[in-house]
Assembly symmetry: C2
DNA sequence: TGATCCTGCTGATTCGATTCAGCATGTGGT
DNA sequence: ACCACATGCTGAATCGAATCAGCAGGATCA
């Protein structure tokens, strides 16, 4: 642990033969306003380089009360690659802006959440990103309200805080576009829950987009096979549908897990994707790429969301509350029957 | 942004009618050695509570040069839930020890990695966890060597740094135990790559465990279907095997993606899991739970790894270099034929 | 020759907590 | 009545950088 003693501003100043004050001005790029002679400037810069001078962030923070860190608080119940990707984006954006990311996971526990918020505020993070796994409506903890905050993947109607979300409505339209770019000679159904309980906002918006896009194409939505967004429920509902003699040429699954369940049910009934049924989905998860055939999925741009959130947070142009919708790109597979 | 002015130690001291020195001693639990009168102690504690005093971490760090943060540097190429789970564990453990986690993702880029290391050292993190996605042999960046470091999911033979890894060998044995707890009236094969290139250490160790456990049970390994650890390659190799007339009663897949490919190939050949073939796997990912039937998988305890790494890092008992192997628990599904 | 201005720098203070060294009291012993 | 000692507290320095106010010294002008 024999760490080399770090050199301080005074070390640099001494080596350059100037006062710490002067060195400070120069190293902070304020030479101009302070009328520092170019020669002096060079000497100090050289000294700093020689000594590998790196300012002590604690000292700086103490004076300026900014820490060049941003806190990310999420409920992200481990597992999904959500957190991972979102943090990747956030972390990259933060690096660009010379910040580091401090994380805290509330695991959905309001008390833990409050603790984490407090701890981050104690440490004077320059801002906090409040993220949720599922797109949802939230009520941010009190102490956060008068801080720099950006909501990620959620909104808080009460407070009008700035937020970053996927553009679910356009995503819905995109899914339909993918489907109709192929051959779909029959009914189109949606698979997935749309009951508004649970607070997820994604479902209704995607469904709106799907409905509108279909209508504009002169087709309509034959029905919705309603189920929770998971593999087994999706299997059951699609299995039931087929067992009852239901037939569809196109299925829009509301996420990739639903699509997996759907694939399994279709296989069980001897139906082949995409020859018998075309399938598109949402999430753009790894899973989509693992299926046979590979699934066309409208992706949730987690990394982008993370990056945008950080940028908004650190953007000094203090624009008012605003909600940014990030486009959902397509991860294209071969689950849609090609047009002849 | 109208943040309430935070109260300082002097505020507390003034309110309690003592000096800042005294307040400091009391709040740091050093009343005893400093012979503070109980009454004074109570007054200070009360004042601190009244004012909702929270020490300023920057000031404290400046004096003590400890920051109550730990850095996590990983290559974690987004996507896998690896990072997410590992951070969950790390973050929980850190909370217990009153620390926060600062993250940095190197994306496998040594230059970026060096930058991140530097930035974290600048900020005086109390220690760094150096993590890799795939269990592998690494060479940690220079500046890290004389710091408090714990390797996570990797080892550095050159430096003998402490490390935390899954117990892959025992995991291999566990997989076999799961398989043989059922009915496996025929050959047992392994599916997955075992060439030692790439630096992944998991494969060979799992394979050793598998071989030893089989031998001890009086069975042997009929063969290894070699392929990269991913869905499509696994599908191809198993498909080829079956096409060539190969038959197996038990398959040990080296990870869950391989197992998915294997499931797909088996289905293609009309083979039913577990009736015709029993399958076990490694990873314990969500995917295992999504398959039909649910896959029995020996889990990589990411959260535990993260937690253990943090604990080792912050454990002051400065024990020498040591390598900890964390047990791999079973996520049990129904992919093994039940014994009659 | 002195008043004025500009140039180029520096001293001293501040941020908030920690910590060493030491200073008043009060108590006990002789 | 005087010294020794324990008790209970405090002053001042310190960590490293930022920043305000201001000071020499030379040039410029009347």
């Amino acid at each position: 642990m024999a760490t080399v003693r770090k050199s301080t501003l005074s070390d640099v100043a001494r080596r350059a033969g100037v006062s710490a004050t002067t060195a400070s001005y120069i190293l902070n790029g304020r030479s101009a306003q302070m009328r520092i002679a170019p020669a002096t400037q060079d000497r100090v810069l050289k000294a700093a380089a020689d000594l590998r001078y790196r300012p002590n962030p604690s000292a700086r923070s103490l004076r300026t009360s900014t820490t060049r860190t941003v806190g990310v608080i999420s409920d992200l119940v481990a597992g999904g690659s959500f957190a991972s990707q979102m943090l990747t984006g956030a972390s990259a954006a933060a690096r660009m802006l010379a910040h580091l990311i401090v994380i805290g996971e509330s695991q959905g526990d309001p008390q833990l959440e409050a603790l984490l918020v407090e701890e981050m505020l104690d440490r004077h993070v320059d801002g906090i990103i409040y993220a949720t796994l599922a797109t949802s409506e939230v009520s941010v903890p009190r102490p956060l309200r008068q801080q720099r905050v950006v909501l990620l993947n959620c909104v808080d109607r009460a407070t009008q805080l700035p937020a970053v979300l996927p553009d679910e409505y356009e995503g819905g339209r995109t899914a339909v576009a993918e489907l109709l770019a192929g051959e779909v000679p029959g009914e189109i159904h949606v698979v997935g829950e749309m009951s508004s309980e649970g607070g997820s906002l994604a479902g209704p918006l995607r469904l709106d987009g799907i409905r509108d896009a279909l209508r504009e194409a002169g087709r309509d939505l034959a029905g919705v096979l309603s189920c929770p967004w998971d593999v087994a429920p999706a299997f059951d509902v699609v299995d039931g549908f087929l067992r009852d003699g239901g037939r569809a040429a196109g299925l829009v699954c509301l996420n990739d897990r639903v699509a997996l369940g759907t694939f399994q049910a279709l296989a069980e009934h001897g139906l082949v994707v995409p020859d018998d049924v075309s399938v598109v989905s949402f999430d753009g998860s790894e899973l989509a790429g693992w299926l046979r055939p590979r699934l066309t999925s409208v992706a949730i741009p987690y990394a982008d969301l993370g990056a945008r959130a950080v940028e908004m947070l650190l953007d000094t142009k203090e624009q008012g509350p605003s909600v940014v919708r990030v486009p959902m790109p397509v991860a294209r597979g071969t689950s849609v029957l090609r047009a002849r």
